[in-house]
Amino acid sequence: MGFIHPYDRPNSYIGRTLPRSRAKRAVAGRGRYTDDITPPRTLHAAFVRSPYAHAKILNIDVEAAKDASGVKLVMTGSELAEMCTGPWVGTLKVFENMKAEPQHPMAVDRVCWHGEPVVMVIAETRAQAEDAGELVVVEYEELPVVINKETALDPGSPVIHANLGDNKAWEHTLGSGDVDKAFEEADHVLEETFYFGRHTAVSLEPRIVLCEYDKGTEQLTIHTSSQCPHMIETVFAQTLGVPEHNVRIVAPDVGGSFGLKIHTFGDEIAATAAAIQLGRPVKFVADRLESFLSDIHARENRVKAKIGIMNDGTMIAAEIDDLSGVGAYSQYPRTSVFEANQILNISFGPYKHPNYRARAQVVYLNAVPTSQYRAVGHPIGISVGEFMMDWAADVTGLDPFEIRRKNIMEDDSYPRPIGSGIPMKDLSHQACLEKLYGLMAYEDLLSEQTELRKKGIYRGIGVAGFIKGTAPSPVGYYGAGGARIAAQDATTVKLEPSGGVIVALGVTDQGQGVDTVMEQIAAAAIGCSMDHVRAISGDTDATPYGGGTYASRATAIGGEATYQAALDLRREILHMAGILLQADPNELDIVDGHVVNDGSNEPRIPLSEIGRIGHFQLGELPNNYQPVLSHTRRYRLQDSPYIYTNGIHGAYVEVDVDTGWIRHLKHWVVEDCGRIINQQLADEQIRGGCVQGLGGALYEHCIYDDYGQLQNGTMADYVTPMMSEMPDIEIDHIQTPTSESELGAKGAGESGTGAAPGVVMNAVNNAIKPLTDGRVTEQPITPEIVLGALGKI
């Protein structure tokens, strides 16, 4: 059979921009988010949270709260702990020597961060639950607070968890070559220290669970805004001692997630325990202040970097020393050390320097636990590496593009490892760089910049290349680390009696368009029309077990599973058609929902007939043939730890040198995410990612005072990007399919967030360069920091 790959067929759905069906209902206000679902007799949870960053709980008096109007249950941390199989310990075996304190879902005898849940109140309405919460009296004895990562390892520092000995969660080093010798031989050695502020996801829809327990069947059903329903099923089952097969997790429409919603949270466990105890539905929605105090935070790093450069601009060595301040506990089940680990892995990743050394120290703080948020570690590693590259360009008199041309790995040089030892393949730094040069009309920008400077207008041009780890393998972290987190994913593709196709996905859709992309893949692989394919995702009772959507994996991993399952179904259809038509299946094809003669496309039998016969009229088939009209395939990466992608950003900003105010005028991205299934959806992932990265680079900061009190827990005080502050973002692609899969797709969801902070920092520094030797080395880049770099304050 002349089987043509779906992406080579004329009018293939692969590579086409098609709209999302979920979008159609969302614009009509008919999206269905968890809070839109309220079963009869639903009760509501509210939490009493710790006002202190670190304190002993001496006594909890809940009597008045219990008597308050509408209250059905008041539960303390120790009562909840009795309903749980044990505390969580956020370690993974792969992180050697990592230490973590066991964590209860709600505080038991000690609170370790401002906002930790202490008591849960369940009432008929949320307002009643909150009212009753105010009647709970908790007596605390304050304990010394550790909030400054720089002093957390000092010998005199208070220790948060005495059992751990000190505040260190993990220390790790890696590298290659002889770094010290290279620094000695280098013509220039450049050193700088960088600071990255703590931020958080701020999904517009907050975390939410709606828990229902059926005491008859002992089934637990949780509707929740989650990226990883199967993982939630596993963790909730294990924590509450409910058999996993009795747990059903449904993630309906999810109002933004960005990594926040791959985690498990104690307040959600508590609400579930209440539903089990009361036998009534219980809903918990985090309000915005609670979100700031309990959603995972991210970043909070100090990074020292050092590079060795030759006079011709060749970088011969790079060194990174990271200090990460995580929260009071290591977030279960993924840990809080990935951010540091990724910084070590990817810093200077586009470049072929032969000597690399990187160290991370991760310390606990009395603050909200940190964990994976979009582009884990990458914004930091990329900002640092790209800053150093621009500085090296200044020192050696090269243009930023020129120094990158000199140092990037050549497109024909793969496979090869980078300095951290991670293997790279199928990358295209050179092609992306040249495309960006044209896309942003670099030379025109340079002349405009020069002209405007004469008028006292300071504009800066930034460039930042990157690598991004996507779609992790089971050998890398989770599987090998012992966590019950799937890095494989699965899709079931089935032919319905109508001839329509159902695609049931282990991966999930939070608006990226995963469902649509999978429908495109399945329709293309089978040979039917998109109208006849419908994806189902986000329901653990209806979909095969998978990891869900995290780490830019849905299309890269779930897409390949869908592709292979759809090809299996296609083969079965052709086999059955061959029997019915007494034809050689190799001489048949499927086009537009019809089995046709291969080559001539002469229609022979429609899929609706195959569906009808296959489900109802099996007597028309030989006795020894039972058609299998439902196929499940799994896919995982094999030897590679990740599917790496690459790309490069450009930015054009204007800095008001009197006020320090930054106007971001234009942003460009050239990205290689492998085979693109739906270009508009890929582009919008990148655009949204960029703006999230720009938020972290310019505005977002969870600010703690010396007592560990979060100072800015509202959206008025914690500032995310608004429409007027953000630029238009122009996008282009290079497509180098990954050789890991047949489909060839890589991840695209996070790289915008990864590289945008670095490029905007470089652009700001480029803008102020004529006026100062100072440089901006801290994010978020507030006007104050710009004025500091300008020497004005």
Binding site: P19, A28, G688
Partner: protein, 160 residues
Amino acid sequence: MSEEMITVNMTVNGEAVSKTIPVRTHLVDFIRTELGFTGSHLGCEHGVCGACSVRVDGDVVRGCLLLAAQADGCEVLTIEGITDTGEISDLQEKFVERNALQCGYCTPGMLMTAAELLAQKTEMSRDDIREYMSGNYCRCTGYHAIVDAIESINNERLGG
């Protein structure tokens, strides 16, 4: 302490409603939980994000900052209402075609404000659109596609 109640009467999406509710109920909680119109969303409940935008007597307001009791006697329209009237069907189609939404949580509020902007029927630059729409936060799209969609409908409407 027993809850203080109040009876409110208003027209919501063309239908007269009368309900007795706790006085402290804000307008969007009222619309969502008492009336079942779940298209208006709550992102912050302190007046910043715009996800709760609804139209009260012709003006787009933050439904989380208004008590339901304050809207007594008013004409309230939500995304469901202006969808049914077809007032912004062109813009809704463009949002879908241009993928000017991802998770869709901000979208009803975004469309309420955009409807108000487009009703001005004037020439506007991309910067003008960005400025006007800045009170509606989106965490997913990066805004570019939203500006595209509004710009192209404004051009179509002015041209047509």
